[in-house]
């Protein structure tokens, strides 16, 4: 059954990986520096910001999808860009979901040893940028699990991507929306098979990632 739709399945896996890769990349590029900043500096309202990111970690994907949908809809503020129902807009919606997770996790990781590390760095007269980079590299293993969490949330998410992506065949259909579609068609066992493929993809990515971390340790 899976073999018969080989070409389409490969295409769907391709779109899924492309979407998840960019969602993860952009979310981490935005979220990690902010998380480090929160971890290493103290200012008024910091507690509020951390609570906000915690709150947004619970943002229902459909709501994130709705907000992005309304922004990019024909009559929306950014409607003229005409990117609704594309992979790009799916990535944007996912970033809304994932950035708070990355900020919050990065903050809680870096704030644990940040006081000591910052003292050490200040004692050696490191610049602010050098200190920030040090905080990232010192927490590399833990931050890698943040990247994997971001990837996991991205690849497993369905509510936002089906709303803004539209689950269009050959274009914006990803594994999760394909699973949803097969479920709606009543092909429950096929849907489950797709779910197992999705898990296998996740598993492979995790294995590759763990190798990457190991090699770096030397």
């Amino acid at each position: 059954m899976l073999m018969s739709m080989d070409k389409e399945l490969l295409q769907i896996i391709g779109v899924t990986l492309r979407m998840s890769f960019f969602s993860t990349l952009i979310s981490c590029l935005l979220g990690m520096p902010l998380g480090v900043l929160l971890g290493k500096s103290s200012f008024k309202g910091k507690g509020t910001i951390i609570k906000l990111t915690g709150t947004f970690m619970g943002l229902p994907p459909v709501v994130a999808g709705l907000i992005v949908y309304m922004l990019f809809s024909k009559n929306g503020i950014l409607g003229s860009l005409d990117i609704l129902f594309t992979v790009e807009v799916m990535v944007i919606a996912q970033c809304m979901l994932i950035v708070p997770v990355v900020i919050n996790l990065t903050h809680s990781i870096t704030s644990v040893n940040s006081a000591c590390l910052i003292e050490t760095a200040k004692g050696l007269n490191f610049s602010k940028g050098k200190t920030a980079i040090l905080m990232l590299t010192e927490n590399k293993t833990a931050l890698f699990s943040v990247v994997l969490s971001a990837f996991g949330r991205s690849i497993a998410e369905v509510g936002a991507v089906s709303l803004v992506g539209g689950n269009i065949q050959w274009k914006t259909r990803v594994m999760t929306t394909a699973i949803m579609l097969e479920t709606n068609k009543g092909n429950f066992s096929f849907a489950l098979a797709l779910g197992i493929i999705l898990l296998l993809i996740s598993f492979t990515v995790n294995i590759i990632a763990s190798f990457a971390v190991k090699e770096d340790k030397q």
Partner: protein, 221 residues
């Protein structure tokens, strides 16, 4: 020159540091002694500019290098720990090897610093500080984790650095021997206040305060 005036540091209800005036000149080695919780580390952090005092001023235009009490090795090789701490120089590698040899870390140079023992970590942390030239070294218990041999290496390295650069050294210690051996001036802290400040031999023979007498009496020299 480092000049402290009317320094106060308060944590919650507790005034951990309360100093009217204190100054350090380049070239002198000062040991700060006192029991746990007397405010030694806080004083060093304020001098080094790592934390700010709640009241008062620290006046200085000296370049300082500070070694915190807690040593964190960076997640890199021992050599890279030193190199990353060094400001730009032409003879980076040579100086790095020198300091590693001096601190007995040469044979560990390519090991990951996370695998070092407590004493080795402390020597590495000191090495990161000593690799640059500053006007003052501010060292918080630089040999607290070291064995006899390690302590000797650390003390020699500090002395050599001082001879070479003519810098000032401000350090805390729980070792009376170390204080007497390295310092030309000993400051005694109690409950955040300075109770004694003078040459070590004077202090040893003739403490000015009751409290100083009591503290010295516990030194088993």
């Amino acid at each position: 020159m480092i000049k402290l005036q009317n320094i106060k540091k308060i944590y919650g209800e507790r005034t951990v540091l309360n100093i009217d005036g204190l100054s350090f000149t380049k070239g002198e080695t000062v040991a700060i002694v006192g029991p746990n919780g007397s405010g030694k580390s806080t004083l060093l952090k304020i001098i080094a500019g790592v934390i700010k005092s709640d009241e008062g001023t620290v006046e200085t235009n000296s370049r300082m290098y500070y070694l915190p009490q807690q040593n964190i090795p960076f997640r890199k090789s021992v050599r890279k720990n030193i190199l990353i701490s060094m400001e730009n120089a032409d003879d980076k590698e040579i100086r790095c090897n020198e300091i590693l040899a001096e601190l007995g870390l040469a044979n560990l140079a390519d090991k990951n610093a996370k695998g070092l023992s407590g004493g080795e970590c402390q020597r590495l942390a000191l090495g990161r500080v000593l690799i640059n030239e500053g006007d003052f070294l501010v060292l918080d218990e630089p040999s607290s984790a070291a064995d006899i041999e390690g302590t000797e290496m650390i003390e020699n390295a500090i002395r050599k650095y001082k001879d070479k650069t003519g810098c000032g050294v401000i350090m805390t210690t729980h070792s009376p021997v170390q204080a007497l051996k390295l310092a030309e001036r000993v400051i005694m802290l109690c409950d955040g206040k300075i109770v004694e400040d003078g040459r070590p031999e004077e202090l040893l023979i003739n403490p000015k305060t009751q409290w100083g007498k009591k503290f010295i009496s516990k030194w088993k020299l």
